[in-house]
Homo-oligomer: 482 residues x 2
């Protein structure tokens, strides 16, 4: 289908009916999947509209008046969440048609994706009812919508805060993960959409909507299958100019494609076709949720650059060699600094047991912020360098004191924020200890610094991959614009 | 040089002289690099031999009688650690010749690797003295030896416990990392060797020694350059049959090769040549320290298998798809379970919203150890499956209680230890929370479980990579034997 404005009510509903809520559920008891847990999620998110449980064998659930059917509710329902066993789905959908409720999130699973004959036939029957009723169905076999500004969500303990990122995901589990752990990367969401088997609404429909959504600046997508490939290419090529599209296409391997069939009954498509897709659209390809989160963090917090020449400031000759190899493999360049910069560095850094070329193996500066400032300023001013990766050594700073390690990191954060060279600067902690103090500090900084505008990556590999694709995005956009 | 038995005294010395120890050092004060810190390391490791600081301007340092030169010490010295500035190295080496001390660890750096003319000339002069005196030099520009059974080591807080792994490393920083964090992977060391610029002793010389070392079962190597490539191929091909050789060759990219020159002044060689090396020798290639540690953990704790068909037991359809893609890319197969197994699983697992094919998306079993046992037994008994990757969901178990999450993990550990199917079983935690309780549990289990014989990997990518290379190693060994 094409996008219908009426579906927008699903993202900001005045009323939500949940069909299939156990009458046995108690507040504070165990939270099973579906049904009552959806009511609890709406409450957690501060949903302000009306909540109507539907259960023909109850009159009140969790304090809400309960109705035997959607049609018996005395209000027009903007969003129906269907959470009944698959065999009951046809009857519930007929009820929705009767009630004139058209926006349906089908949590219910157990159709083609099981690979079972009977379940597949049931899916066909459901499709028929949906088509006849003109229902705007999200799903089935999905977690539906997460809209923090509307108080809409289906998972436990979702963040209430909104942000500029939309996630269109064929997997509910991935939406859960990203919604919960996004904030650790400084990422909050405008909308999250889990759409499962895509009987009616597919990724292209949601893209139609999100392309015009002023709350969304960056679009993340997780796709298993796609119905209208030509439309997706056309859309993404266009949208990617003004809202970067970060896309994880799963099921590109033989075994992955079989797993896709078991999950959302989609046809996964071939790797070569999708290579063409990324080439034609300029969309940013990722291969995991962590990769998606780190790439999104990059687009949110790193100053745009088309350059790919990086300076790495760290400690250890072996680490420097590894850093150069890793950056190279990810498509970055690690040029030697200019003679001028090297001569300036030589004035205050002894070269025995160190290197001032690039990567810089000058760990001692992590104990002396004056020297560190001078080093960073000289490197950032080098005309051969487009961006800086700093690898602070908490172990070493800590040999002096815990306070010094914390001061070092605060200092780097301030420097990055006030970086007058306008070149991207990011952090990768070169520390691995299981020491509780250090683990706590590192975990805390990984969460806090991105929110202060200084991206922190889990590894040099992921940092250089993200920076490489980030600068490539800006080169492609420039080429296309020119 | 070829291996000389006299060098064995360096690994188990009765006496150690450290040349270049500041007289200003105090116990409990800051630990600078080199000199006095080496004495403190020997003490920490419980070294039982004699320690002689050498400093012409002191009579006692840290309670040890101090001598003006090596020659003035009234005992034959089995190991001299040279920790003076580069310009003083010639004189110290002449002193060693006079003293008849032949085993020398040169910590001193500042030669060819700086790229500076004067320093390079000094390196040439030093080489001349070494050759004339027939000195068995480890280094220069390196951290030398770590032998816990002898109480020998140069880093702070090294583990005292010995183990079956030897690490031959051209980088001291890498030796430091691996020695300290190896135990987190259940890895302890027989010997660690950092050999830097390799003026005399190169990796092939250390291999000669370690190939006959009964304390060593697995050999890890980090190489930047190599002097005698033919010898290395011959050695590794032979040794790899009875002691797996896990090798990280750095500097294979253009930028990495330049970094190698700055680090140990080695010629890094070309990627194609090294591809040939790995093909001819069957050595196991890794690309990072974490990769080396996880591969070593695999060889230490996973039951040998030549198969590559894996079952993945986890939670979430999207996660299953990702798992299949990841395993496929790393060279494993993820076959559908046999119809028989699927039918047995169907008896107690509802297929709506789940998958029992493979990867298994049956997260609910993580709340019910009886169901989990049955599932694992059925999967492990499937003739199409060679190994199992279990992805326990601590979040979910914890929804019931913290105790249940801990019990789940203890249960898995017991199951793996008593696994009567004899198929490898490893764990990857599918949990990402920053929640302190969960972080602590996960960190603790990552350290404890490998020591109990159940490898835990940081990610599914690293687990499948390690298992894939592990089974390949055993296939290659079988082919070569056949």
């Amino acid at each position: 289908m094409t996008w219908e404005p009426e579906l927008e009510a699903a993202f900001n509903p005045k009323s939500v009916a949940i069909v299939g809520v156990s009458s046995q559920v108690k507040r504070g008891g165990p939270r099973g999947p579906g049904g009552a847990s959806f009511i609890l999620s709406l409450e957690q998110l501060g949903y302000q509209g009306h909540i109507y449980p539907v259960n023909p064998r109850a009159i009140e659930i969790l304090g809400y008046k309960t109705y035997p059917s959607v049609a018996s509710i005395p209000e027009q329902i903007d969003l129906v969440i269907v959470s009944v066993p698959a065999r009951d789905a046809p009857q519930v959908l007929e009820d929705c048609i009767t009630a004139g409720a058209k926006n349906i999130h089908m949590f219910t699973a157990g159709f083609e994706e099981t690979g079972e004959t009977e379940a597949t036939a049931l899916g066909q029957q459901v499709r028929g009812i949906i088509q006849r009723g003109g229902l705007r169905v999200i799903g089935p076999n999905c977690m539906g919508l997460y809209v923090p500004s509307s108080g809409i969500g289906t998972f436990d303990r979702l963040p209430k805060k909104s942000g500029p990122v939309c996630f269109i995901s064929q997997s509910g589990g991935h939406l859960n993960w990203y919604s919960h752990y996004g904030p650790n990367y400084g990422i909050w969401f405008s909308k999250g959409i889990s759409f499962g088997n895509a009987y009616v609404l597919d990724s292209t429909d949601f893209l139609d909507y999100i392309s015009n959504d002023t709350d969304t600046r960056i679009i993340c997508m997780y796709l298993e299958g796609i119905k209208d490939g030509r439309k997706l290419i056309r859309q993404v090529r266009e949208i990617n100019h003004y809202k970067p599209v970060i896309l994880w296409k799963a099921g590109l391997t033989e075994h992955g494609a079989r797993a896709v069939a078991s999950h959302t009954a989609s046809l996964a498509g071939q790797e070569a076709i999708w290579r063409g897709f990324f080439k034609q659209t300029g969309a940013v390809q990722v291969y995991s949720l962590e990769g998606m989160a780190e790439m999104t963090m990059t687009f949110l917090y790193v100053k745009p650059t088309q350059g790919k020449r990086v300076a790495v400031l760290g400690l250890g000759g072996g680490t420097s060699v590894a850093a150069a190899d890793v950056c190279s493999r990810e498509g970055l360049e690690v040029p030697a600094l200019t003679e001028t910069t090297q001569n300036e560095l030589r004035k205050f850094i002894a070269t025995a047991g160190a290197s001032i070329r690039n990567p810089l193996d000058t760990g001692m500066v992590f104990r002396d912020t004056a020297a560190l400032t001078l080093e960073m300023e000289l490197v950032a001013a080098d005309p051969l360098i487009d961006m800086l990766i700093i690898m602070p050594h908490l172990d070493m700073a800590r040999n002096t004191s815990n306070e010094q390690a914390e001061q070092l990191v605060n200092y780097l954060s301030d420097f990055a924020k006030n970086n007058r060279f306008g070149k991207p600067m990011v952090i990768v902690f070169h520390s691995f200890g299981n020491d509780p103090w250090e683990t706590e500090l590192r975990n805390r900084l990984k969460v806090e610094l991105p929110q202060q505008g200084v991206p922190v990556y889990g590894s040099l590999i992921s940092a250089s991959r993200a920076l490489s694709r980030f600068s490539e995005y800006h080169r492609i956009q420039k080429e296309m614009a020119g």
